[in-house]
Structures are given as C-alpha cells and as structure tokens.
Amino acid sequence: MPSFSMDNMVSILPEMIVLSLALAVLMFDLALPKDEKRYLAYFSVAGLAIAGYQTMNLAGLQLDTFYGMFVLDGYAIFFKVLFYIAAAIAILISIGYVKGQEMDKGEYYALILFATAGMMVMASGADLISIYLGLELMALSVYILAGFMRGSMKSNEAALKYFLLGAFSSGILLYGIAIIYGVTGTTNLAGIAAFIQSGQYSGPALTLAMILLVAGFGFKVAAVPFHMWVPDVYEGAPTSVTAFMSVGPKAAGFAAFLRVFTTALPGIQPDWTVIIASLAIMSMLIGNVVAISQTNIKRMLAYSSIAHAGYAMVGFVSGGMQGVSSVMMYLFIYMFMNLGAFGMVVMLRKDGVAGEELKDFAGLAKKNRTAALLMMVFMFSLAGIPPTAGFMGKFYVFMAAIDAGFTWLAIIGVMMSAVSAYFYLRVIMYMYMKEPEGEFELAAPLSLKLAMAVAVLGVLYIGMAPAGLIDFARISIAGMM
C-alpha cells in the first residue's frame, strides 16, 4: 500500500482553493452590508482566476493519489479549466440579475463555488465513490440555486422537480455502483477494468449495472429519455442559474461519464456503444424537433441543450482519441455559446419584466444593434454555422463519428442540424425582421457586458483558430487513452 505523500496535497490543490474560496465568501458575507454583495462576486471571480492559474501550473503532471480514488491528469485539468470559465462567466452574468430579482445574497456565489468544487471532483474521480461524492456536492448546490428566487413559484417548482428527479437518478446511479462493487469487488475504475479484462465474470449483472450507470449519468447530461426534468427546470430556475446549470453540470456529467466508460468499462464497449448511440439519436431527434414548437426562449434553449447532449454523445460513441477529444472540445465550445445565449436572455428586460418569450426579442436590432449582433452570433454558433465555434465543434464530432465508422450517426446528426437551423434562425428573424413592441430596457451592467464579450470572443476565436483548443484537448487525454 503506498504511503501518504505530498502528491496527495498537490493533486487536490485546485479543489482546496475553490472550497476555501467558497467558505471565505460565506464568511465575508457576514461582514458585508445588504446591498454590497457584488463584491463577493468580484472576489469569487478573482479567486477562480487564481485557481485557474494554479491549475495550469499543474499541467503535465500525472498524479494518482488517495489510494487510487483521485487523479490529477490532463483530462481533469481540461475540465477544471472549463469549469472555472463557466463559473466565472455565470457569476458575472448573475451580478445584475440577482439584484433585480431580489435574490442578492452571499450564499448564491458560495453555492456556485461549491457546485464548481463538486464538478472538479467529478472530473478527477478515479473511483466510483469519489465521483458519486463530487456529483452529490454539485447536485445539492444546484438544487438550492434552482430555487433561489424564493418569491417565484416557478423557481420553487423548478427546484422541487430538479431535486426529486435528481435524487431519484442518483439513487439509480448508486445502485449501479453497488452492483459493480458486488460483481468486481472494487469501485476503482482501473480495478474494474482489470477485473473485466481477466474474464472472471461476464454475466448479465454487469450489463445491468452499466445500464443503471447510463441512466444515472444520462440524467445529469440531459439525454433523452432522461430529460423530462430539463424543460421545466430550465424555464423555472432563475436565468443566471439556468445558464450555469446548462453548461457546468452537463460538462461535469460528461467528464465523469466518459472517464468511467472509457477507463472502467472498455471490456463491454460493444454493449454500451449500442445504448449510448440510441440515446444520442433520441436526444438529437426529440431535442431538435420539440424545440421548434417552443415559444419561451428558455424552454427552447432547454430542448436545444438536450439536442446538444445528443451531438456530444455522437463523439462519445465514436470513442478513441478522436472521439473523446471531440466531446471535450464540443463541451468547451458549448460552454461559451450557451452561456452567451442565456446571458442575452438575462440582459433582455421588457416593460419592466424579464423578457423570456421569443416575441420579446422582436425588433431588438432596431433598439440595440450590439445586443442583437451578439445574440445572432450565439444563435449561429448553436446552429453550427461557420465561422463560429459551434461549427468547429460539430465538424469535429461528425468527423470522429465517420472516422470510427458511425456514418449513420453522423447523417442523423447532420439532418437534425438542418432542422435546428430553423428555430435558431427564428430568433434572428424576430430580432432583425420584426417590428419592436413595447419598451426595451437592457439590464446590462458592466459585468454582464464583460461576460458577453468573453463569450463572444471565445465563440469567434475558437471558430476561426481552433488549432489551440484541439491540441489542448488531444494532449490532455494523451495519458488516459
């Protein structure tokens, strides 16, 4: 048994920073007067930047610590960087919004940071138990965030639905873990892989456990048929929380999903390939087709988020170096464009209330050219039209699929992209080709503008010069594959 070494402390340094940051936010919250909570947000963003710097300093390390429960490798670092950016943009989006919605409390930022820490543990977990713990830390924080707008019945209801279905799904996940433990005698990912490899057991229990894991993770990444919570929760939760929820937990879910299936279960790859491929197809189909009929923009983006989980799963199914790195790149890109789209929804207020209906965007181009232009870029990116990052992401995913011989998956994905163009274009149509009704007030404090600038630069830069991100993703998984 290896002795406890300094490596352990090094490997959890990023998590320690983020957790201390969260605790510090809780403490400072006590000292700050009621309407000065925005300093906590700036403090959190600064802290995340420090965490990001420290994490990048650890790049290149390959630490296997805590008796195999926790690893720090390129894969984990890639996702941690993604989480920092997502959390920072989400916090910047929130500052003005939480004030307007009477939910300007210090705990808000602390909860985002706790959720981030949970996601980081998920990305680093090399043992089903540590992954489960990370997942719960993330999920519990996000349940509370979803219901943070206490006065709004919709928000309360979103929290309730998210909580009930989330708890249910983690029960399923846990039972799957228990079966795997019963069959293999370990919850360590490498240990499970070695056990399956040795051929000691090849019965139905393992397949059953795999299906339960797919269901558990499927809930977190919002894949059909585990998507029923998504539209209601996305619509009901405060928009700034929806923005965070649609990228962070989804990416974290994929991080754990990918690591578990590619490192622990490669022995039964043919089995899970079929299941995940069908999930991918259903997600792309239902997500895109149902999105067409939505009139609430948050609900439309919820279905679009389901569809995007489907595209990411196309890369997942393709597997191998190409497949895994394509999913990573896709999630990174999705983070920028989706946060951008939700940020614009946060920004838009009409006649004194939050503009969440599609028709609230009518004629935006006349009133505010910049806002309309930004929303247009995000919509084109979500639709996968060059030169935005969304195109590069889809291109890589479909390329990986064709390379691995899943041409039919790529064909379905492409056809569904054509369908999706319709509802993303509709937003643009409303903004540019309709007359405005009612009064626009754009709630755009500097922080939100900054967040949108980061998002749009991310979308355009990755769209035109993706080489850096591709290499980052590929180098990150070099140690894992």
């Binding site: 519990l140 919709k154 309360n156 249910f168 846990l174 433990y181 019963g182 919850t187």
Partner: protein
C-alpha cells in the same frame, strides 16, 4: 450463513419497491421516502458485496452513503416545508406552473 445471492435479491426487491414508491405516489413526502428506500437498497447491496469479497470498503461506503442521504434529505425537506407553507399542499400534481 446467508448466501450472498439472497441478500442481493432482497436488495433488488427493496430497490424495486423504492422505484415503485416514487412513481406510484403523488405525495411529495412519499416520493422522498421512495428515494431513500432506493438509497438504502444500494447500501444493502454494498454490504453484501463487502461480505462476498471479505473487504471492509463496502461497509465504509455505506457510512458515506448515510451521510449523503442525510444531507439530501435536509435539502429536500427544507424545500417541501417551504412549498407547503406557500401552497398548503404536498401533492405533486398541484405544482404545474409550467406546461408545454
């Protein structure tokens, strides 16, 4: 000595009961209890696995699990109590602000 398969079958039955409880009841508290039953079934399966392999890990995981379940319930109950205060109802069908 009880054979391991018996324990696993029992765990499976408890898990199934939990799932049925979640889907059959409209009362939020009952749904929460169903979820807890599912978690406990998983705990039982862990203990069985621990016995089979002669390793203490499974038992330790159950401790983890109990702590997790407790924190989950605290969040859940807080939500339910608040919602009951606002709507005077714990029936899941009463919460239907959002519809397609």
């Amino acid at each position: 000595m009880v054979p391991i398969s018996h324990i696993l079958i029992l765990a499976g039955m408890i898990f199934a009961l939990g799932v049925v409880c979640v889907f059959a009841h409209r009362n939020i508290l009952m749904i929460l209890i169903g979820v807890e039953i599912m978690l406990n079934a998983a705990g039982l399966a862990f203990v069985a696995g621990s016995m089979r392999w002669g390793m203490p890990e499974g038992q330790i995981f159950v401790l983890f699990l109990m702590a997790m379940a407790a924190s989950e319930v605290s969040v859940g109950l807080a939500l339910v109590v608040y919602l009951h205060k606002r709507k005077r109802s714990v029936n899941i069908d009463d919460f239907n602000e959002m519809k397609d």
